[in-house]
Subunit: 560 residues, 2 copies
Amino acid sequence: MSDYMEGKSRWWGWGYLDRRFDVENRENIMPFMRENLGMALDRDRFTDPGLEEIDIPAPRLEDEALRELRELCGPENVSTDKFQRVSHSMGKSYRDLLRMRMRRVDRPVDAVVWPREEEEIVSILRMGEARNLEIIPFGGGSSVTGGVEPLAKDRDGALSLDLARLNRVLRVEATSQTAAIQAGALGPEIEEQLNEQGYTLGHFPESFDHSTLGGWIATRASGRQSTGYGDIEDMVLALRMVTPRGVVDTRRVPNTASGPSVLQFCIGSEGILGVITEATMRIRPMPEVFDYRGLIFRNFAAGVSAIREMMQQGMVPTCVRLSDRTETALVGSFRSTTGNKWKKKGEEAALKVLARRGFSFDDGAFMVMGLEGGREETEYMRAGILRLCRGLGGLHLGTGPGRQWYESRHDTAYFREQLMNRGVLVDTIETATTWDNLLHLYGEVRSALRAALEEGGGRSMVGCHVSHAYREGASLYYTLFAPMTEEGGEEEQWERVKRAASEAIVENGGTISHHHGVGYEHSPWMRREVGEISLEAIRAVKKVMDPACILNPGKLIPAR
Amino acid sequence: MSDYMEGKSRWWGWGYLDRRFDVENRENIMPFMRENLGMALDRDRFTDPGLEEIDIPAPRLEDEALRELRELCGPENVSTDKFQRVSHSMGKSYRDLLRMRMRRVDRPVDAVVWPREEEEIVSILRMGEARNLEIIPFGGGSSVTGGVEPLAKDRDGALSLDLARLNRVLRVEATSQTAAIQAGALGPEIEEQLNEQGYTLGHFPESFDHSTLGGWIATRASGRQSTGYGDIEDMVLALRMVTPRGVVDTRRVPNTASGPSVLQFCIGSEGILGVITEATMRIRPMPEVFDYRGLIFRNFAAGVSAIREMMQQGMVPTCVRLSDRTETALVGSFRSTTGNKWKKKGEEAALKVLARRGFSFDDGAFMVMGLEGGREETEYMRAGILRLCRGLGGLHLGTGPGRQWYESRHDTAYFREQLMNRGVLVDTIETATTWDNLLHLYGEVRSALRAALEEGGGRSMVGCHVSHAYREGASLYYTLFAPMTEEGGEEEQWERVKRAASEAIVENGGTISHHHGVGYEHSPWMRREVGEISLEAIRAVKKVMDPACILNPGKLIPAR
């Protein structure tokens, strides 16, 4: 059984069971939310569900199939247990969390299997073909696009293939700074094993604790430090992927002109072509310096210019994030208000200094800028970046706000749990575009979101930040809040909002996803973004690798 | 007609007609070659061919087809002229140059067409399907893998589709530092148009003068400054490719998680999927500083360590090249020995200083290290790199040898023309691997080459350099020389050598090509490198985009 999930994580929501968002020490946050959403937030609309409240049909898988699986992987590595089936049937999207709160698991998987080695996966896929199954590769289950939910209607069973047992760093090659890592390793498992030998992968998405290498590769993920370390597709030197037709094993070379990049076609294939089992990753020595700072700009546009200039002048931070006015105010209200009295007094004094200089968290753009690396190199970059920001009107706030962001960087995902129970629609939507289009896209998507959120006449709050930056553009990451609509209409309300945002993104030159992937939530817009010929190309490759269409049918592209 | 080729370039060999390798001012080079190859080099085995000496059959294309083409693209943009047919039927590989010297054009194209806009290409492909033609996209014709030679046996004509008319920079987007460029633009045409606006693409392959953007993208090329500016696949933000089933138009975004990368599948497709017509490229401001230097190391391994350290410490030069012992000696013998007496005396004094410190061009490893960019950034990098190299036993030779390399960087390709006429087999072979495997692969390929070159009992010379460097590995680029075998056996001799090298590469963890591409010369080894499933995937995508298989059949993968 998956050691990681059972008894440690919220199967119905986000994160570790023993961790919740600390509202008590932040006096300003709930008043801020109340004011902006125009709701009292004083009663529970939902409560966390108990497993016994969830109703799912008996597993469809025949006894013979289960026996075969148990023989293959060991009886302890096959389960039709309710907890396992429920926790493997959905990801962590707003829709998923909503349905869990409604005690609904619309499409449960029938069993979960934890193969111990690649050879067992080969056999499982063979069995899947023979028994007309739907097989869904499962990493950490943190998908926000519906990536792990079974969708097929014409199968004799849905099997979740959990890679949790393949969680080892197999080899570290110090000379080349690469490591062969098994795909089922979770973020912390990878870093722990690499750190021991003095290395880091440098991939730290918000889902870090609850997502795996294979999942990152399958969804073309980006960590929060991607500006410096690169996106996952830049980190993969080579991979192994088990398909129903055999193993794709790309060559371990730094670069090649040996035809079209099959490697870059496997990256982002979301489990529809094969099961990624192992990858050779580019790794880095542990940074000597770890330096996060806060800055504030008078407005979003000024901060955007600063990021663009950094990137184009080759002053590349490891991490850079810029919040718009709304999100900056939200960040301000997140500040811890209890604890050390002197620290509190110091912060208040700092805010006064800010105000005298004409900056404010109520009407500014907050930037976090992080540098990780060698001493000399980070010093050089820091000096250049701070000089550049000053020149563009930015005010350096020092390491305090940077550290604060770093320490609380996982909090918002936990906050969502509480807000949803109080009846707040909370979701995130992300895209990317080139610098010349960034502010235009920013405005269009924001307007579309607000219009959709306020359709019923209520209020809404839409914050945004630039996170992953490139020489020629950046990503935009929206966080949205609004009162949930009347009971029973919540899913439809969300669909309306999602549709409005997705339309605005695709119509205005954005990509439907910068790093969340496609799953089934984004596939109608992915189709428009990539066009019919490219879609046919993906379909044709699927037909080569997975001719019986047993792997994650219905994701990315409509199946058969 | 192609303005560029006619009357300006050698159709039977490399380069501009008015340019040749200057042997006269280099007293040492011919004695060096004579000694190392054990041949007199005093008589012509071949002479440059005249067009009238080449025999090709009448074009197979029906009058009606030609009429249709002329109506489509204008009569001046269609030709069955002998010069055009001959010069569009082969690239610039050793095999190509050999056959030209033997007055052999084995498989001539039947006509050449120069479309003026994308719409015309759509029509040409439609016509190609209707008339059962073979259509070969043609850029600068510099392929060294057989990429532009017609191969199909079952067609009613072979048409070379020359993109020379699509040679404009369409838009420069200063904010995002991107430019939309037509695929038929040659290196100098691109740089001229970008430089006018203060930008550079930064892609400078050896073939720069005679290759196009579309060709670079189709073959996953790398320029000599790729270590700093990136390989072509890093520079393409988006592209347009006309396929017989419609236009693939990838989204202009800095990054996306919208499924498998169709973009990275089109890059490297070598004209078998479609005709690349336009790409949005990442561009850079013209460098403020342009600084090339020479260094010398006691041996190849020490220099290799220095490059690895630079890359892994983030001290990334724009260009870095390291020659092994043989190539260093060759570089030494290339030195101009006439001209300014004082300059000459200065050089001789410098060589004496070298010798006193225990370094020599006869027994060392010469490095060129180039930096291009902003003043501050290049100063920072230079200081770091030189410090690092000193620490690893390298001796800094100053800017003189760097400038000399830069100025003569196109010379060797011209030298080949003269050597081949004197009966020398001259070719280049390239690969890439990770640092941990680099010296092993270096030795294995070198041994295989020497054994194959010396099979008849003669002598040979095999030099090698590291050119394109990455954090986790680098490319190896071999230049090989040997006396040609007995008359009539030259092509077979070369095939034997090529086969031996390719086997050694694939057997020892290299890629069959780092930047030359596949064409038909590399396809047997590409097949082994990528494996059958990946090959089937490419074949399946071709079937989607080019179901009648009219586009460059026989390249990359065996056709139908």
